[in-house]
């Protein structure tokens, strides 16, 4: 299967399940609100049920069938449930803490709006944060096209989140300062976890999700103990009362996240998040089912639909503008291939580089947003590297990759 197709299938299926999860979330928020339980109780109850349910699912997925685990059908890297490895611990701690905080923020927003089609687009603004962080962490600074797409997505998200009462500034602050930075940290560290290799094999998304839920539960409980211990008692009561509903929610959430984490292992976090933004379309039928989509008047409805179109346009452009190429490089006599390899690896846009035995000395794979950027960011830098005899650029027109 082409890697690109698998990536899109994973991200889109994940976003469809996410739309169902968001609908259930808003229903749960409504029920909790009626019981006078706040958003912290909601987040606590979700994780208190989520931890044992996720454990049960991972145990079932660990069952062997024809020599392979059941979960290997979901993620071929998965063998069985396992303990956290030392090199993973810091990533789990950071992702768990961020997930705990952003979940509480998410339920706060949901309890304010009630309509999942209004709350979900807010989350898509996280792309801006991801683009900024990727530019620092992954030697891949955003291009003008990426910035334009990100701005389109942001404005679209704000437009589609407009409510009858206009813009809710307090809610926007929660989104910009709590939910999106939190989710950004979760995405970055989940991707880092997915890219880890143990014994030459890639890390699996099932154990990553399981341990993320466990660590998030620990942090949610710790925060509740610090803030107000009575929240924990309320959450235990709520969890026992609505166990089946919360159990279904967390089971669906588990599969949505496993697919999302697998997609993160293939594509950049910002692009995965961009495709996952399609959940804002999938959520519309569910929102209509809840009878909330048509609460707005025709003008608001039009603005909302325009916002959704903008988000989709932005994410499509973001994910489809990609130029890849192979660079065949020959090194001058008297220069070390190893040293040059390290120098070329530092050039932005170089995804991989290999020293070769044969006619060519080095083969690098490059990914940029445009051919122009390829010239500016790669070729010009390459020409500054001393010791290169000649290089050839071969643009990739089409590509298949085995996953």
């Amino acid at each position: 299967m082409r890697k690109k197709y698998l990536f899109y299938v994973l991200a889109i299926v994940s976003s469809f399940i996410l739309a169902i999860v968001a609908t259930m979330d808003s229903t749960i928020c409504f029920i909790f609100h009626q019981n006078s339980w706040n958003y912290w109780v909601c987040a606590l109850a979700v994780f208190l049920v989520g931890a044992p349910i996720t454990l049960l699912i991972v145990f079932i997925l660990s069952l062997p069938i024809n020599g392979k685990s059941l979960g290997s059908k979901l993620d071929p890297s998965f063998k069985r449930i396992r303990l956290v490895k030392r090199e993973e611990l810091s990533y789990y701690l950071l992702a768990g803490a961020a997930n705990a905080i952003q979940t509480a923020g998410y339920y706060l927003i949901l309890s304010r709006f009630g309509d999942p089609s209004m709350a979900l687009p807010f989350n898509q603004i996280v792309i801006l944060y991801l683009l900024s962080i990727e530019s620092i962490a992954e030697k891949n600074s955003p291009t003008m096209a990426e910035l334009q797409c990100a701005i389109i997505v942001t404005f679209g998200a704000i437009m589609s989140s407009l409510s009858m009462g206009g813009l809710d500034i307090k809610a926007l602050l929660v989104v910009f300062l709590i939910i999106n930075p939190g989710w950004c940290v979760v995405s970055i560290y989940q991707r880092k976890l997915k890219l880890l290799k143990f014994g030459g094999k890639p890390n699996d998304s099932i154990n990553i999700r399981f341990w993320n839920v466990i660590f998030s539960t620990i942090f949610v409980v710790l925060i509740a103990l610090i803030v107000d211990k009575s929240l924990l008692l309320q959450a235990f009561y709520a969890a026992s009362k609505y166990f089946p509903l919360l159990g279904v929610l967390m089971s669906l959430g588990f599969f949505s996240y496993v697919l999302y984490i697998r997609a993160l292992g293939i594509g950049k976090a910002s692009v995965t998040q961009a495709i996952r933004a399609s959940s804002i379309i999938f959520v519309i039928p569910f929102s209509i089912l809840l009878g909330r989509f048509f609460y707005a008047d025709s003008l608001h409805l039009l603005i909302k639909l325009m916002g959704i179109v903008l988000v989709i346009l932005g994410i499509t452009s973001l994910s489809l503008t990609d130029v890849k190429a192979y660079l065949f490089i020959n090194v001058k006599q008297g220069y070390s291939k190893g040293v040059l390899m390290e120098k070329i690896w530092k050039i932005k846009g170089v995804e991989s580089i290999a020293t070769i035995a044969g006619g060519t000395d080095l083969i690098a794979k490059v990914r940029t947003r445009s051919l122009g950027k390829g010239y500016e960011r790669v070729i010009r830098r390459l020409e500054e590297v001393e010791g290169i005899e000649e290089f050839k650029w071969q643009s990739i027109l089409k590509e298949w990759e085995e996953i």
Binding site: K3, E138, L195, G200, K324, A325, Y326, F328, G338, M341, E342, W345, E351, S352, I353, A354, T355, I356, A357, G358, G359, T360, I363, K365, K392, W393, Q394, S395, I396, L397, K398, E399, W400, E401, E402
Partner: protein
């Protein structure tokens, strides 16, 4: 694990047929259709050099490929 790039030049009009045959060969990690000196660049991963020979043999047996070159990876850095 031994990794190698296999580059090939394909007869005009036979690209789709060759791609179809290449996609059936196990151990090929990626197939790229490129512009320039070569038409197709494939990346393969095999356990032994004998495995690499078997793989290149399979590629050689595909008709309509004019020229192939195999270059073995000594060291690789990737994201």
């Amino acid at each position: 694990m031994i990794k190698a790039f296999v580059m090939m030049i394909v007869k005009v009009g036979e690209l789709e047929n060759v791609l179809e045959q290449l996609r059936k060969i196990p151990n090929i990690e990626s197939i790229s259709v490129v512009t320039g000196e070569w038409d197709i660049i494939t990346k393969a991963g095999v356990e032994t050099l004998e495995g690499l020979m078997k793989l290149t043999d399979k590629i050689q047996l595909i008709g309509n490929i004019e020229k192939t070159t195999t270059q073995v990876v000594e060291k690789e850095i990737s994201l």
